[in-house]
């Protein structure tokens, strides 16, 4: 159920990428898909009633290891968030430059290249 909702979020993002005319909408679609993927990773790493993977001095190490959530997906998501931020900055730069050249955000009017 939860995984299905997460996939729906990803698919909404990809749908926007495929169908939208506005370049900013396409970028937004990619961002939504990235959200969905990050959530999927964290969901995979979740453990029922899990703790955050941070040790405090008064914790029993064995209990901590037995009930903390998975740290690897969290590290991966941190990396993936930063990567999507980088891609977003680059794509926004491209959008601005495209706007300057074509005077529009409409992707169907940017047709210098023939298919």
């Amino acid at each position: 159920m939860i995984y299905a909702l997460c996939l729906i979020l990803i698919v909404i993002g990809l749908y926007a990428v495929v169908t939208k005319k506005n370049v900013v909408k396409i970028v937004i679609g990619l961002a939504i898909a990235e959200y969905g993927i990050n959530l999927l990773l964290i969901l995979i790493g979740y453990r029922k009633d899990g703790w955050a993977p941070i040790v405090s001095p008064d914790m029993d190490p064995a209990a901590f290891a037995a009930s903390s959530v998975d740290p690897i997906p969290q590290a991966l998501v941190l990396t993936s968030i930063v990567i999507s931020l980088g891609v977003l900055a680059l794509m926004v730069a491209l959008c601005i430059r495209l706007y300057e050249r074509y005077g529009t955000f409409d992707v169907t009017e940017m047709r210098r290249l023939r298919g």
Partner: protein, 188 residues
Amino acid sequence: MDILIVLMVLMIVGAIIAVETTNLLSSIVCVGAVGFLLSIAFLFLGAPDIAITQLVVEILCLIILIRATISRDLTAVSGDREFFGLTVTLATVLAVAAAGILCMADFPAFGQSVMDRITDPPAASSRYLAAGLEKTGAANIVTSVLLDFRAYDTLGEATVLFCSILGALAVLRRKARRRESEETEGDE
């Protein structure tokens, strides 16, 4: 985890509005809302590190997106491009989603992390939780994974950011080409 389902339904609603609204500014604001909901969801899922990072990155994304689009034609360009026609596209997307959901039904149940399922030999994450503090000295196991066990990934991630910023600066420079006569001269 009922709260999680509520959050995710809200996120889906936000995403649909963001994709379908005609006003670009409201679309961006909706993406921001989805991002903040995501951050709260991370908090419930035992990932405070990610929640903080998601929150601040979301703020920055919003600022960048709004700056990029503000005072341009916010409403003029909307609607879909003729790809295959809307029905076919929708059908394809729905079919893909249905196939994905069908496949995910076989996926290990939510809440069953790899550490519970894979014990012989134990999954790497259980080893990190058991020995991370002792081996790296960092109380935050995510940091110890990020900057010690898998520090090489983090180098790659810092490089990605460096690279995209450099790329954005290169794309946005004022004059990209020289004229013939300028070719022999020095830089800028």
